[in-house]
């Protein structure tokens, strides 16, 4: 066997060996890519949102109670629908429906906090923390749906 043939043979063997290492690495990485963030969304972010939903719902209901009687039914239905989605934790419902109704629920939360503060049920300091929770929830919901720049704020 000539030196040229031996060198070609060695090159092919080296390439095959390198491919054997690189291809599974690429496939594994490609398969796993996207899993970590999604797992964090499902296993950590959604439960945190579900826990926060109870306090937010109380604020939103307090806000709905300040509306004229003819609007309260619709506001309560919106609140009920929104928090059912959050507690259900269904990915599609969170992505498609929750974000649509959240804007209205967030307004009701703010109304509720104002009403509680006006009635001296909560202090200005407590109200500030409650408003911050609503903002943090807003960031969390947006981070669930898209990549998470909102969470860096």
């Amino acid at each position: 066997m000539s030196n040229q043939t031996v060198r070609s043979y060695c090159l092919i063997v080296s390439i095959m060996a390198a491919s054997v290492t690189a291809i599974p690495l690429a496939l594994t990485a490609a398969t796993m890519s996207g899993c970590a963030a999604q797992k964090a969304r499902e296993d950590v972010l959604v439960p945190a949102m579900q826990l926060a939903s109870y306090g937010l719902e109380k604020d939103a209901l307090a806000g709905a109670a300040t509306l004229p009687a003819e609007l309260q039914g619709s506001a309560n239905a919106t609140i009920d629908a929104f928090f059912s989605i959050v507690r259900g934790g269904d990915d599609e419902a969170l992505r498609q429906d929750a974000i649509v109704t959240w804007g209205r629920v967030q307004e009701l939360v703010e109304l509720g906090i104002e009403a509680k503060q006006d009635a001296n049920i909560v202090s200005a300091e407590a109200a500030q923390l409650m408003r911050q929770r609503a903002r943090d929830f807003d960031n969390a919901l947006r981070a669930y749906i898209t990549r998470s720049p909102a969470l860096l704020n």
Binding site: I15, A22, A30, A37, L129, A143, S148
Partner: protein
Amino acid sequence: MPDKAEILKAIGQDILTEIRKQATDVGATFEDSVEDVAAFISSKAQELSTAVGKPGFDEALMAARDSVLLKAAGRAVIEGEKFDDILRETARSSLAIVARLLILL
């Protein structure tokens, strides 16, 4: 009976210790997030201390707890995205290596 603000601080410390442990297990990559969450817990405890003895303290305590958990969960997503980016880059460079090798054949 322990003060509620103290209890929150203690819970915050436990969360912090756990995050630090996880960060140590994984490597130093998560240190920014740990510090970020630690600072957030500290600021919440500070804000909460201004609400002690005033109306609605229980609601404030619950809101602070929720905010801390939402913040920590948010950082977990960010770290997950960073990890995904590393994997994506690994996949890209590995495929580039394979492509270069195949050209040689």
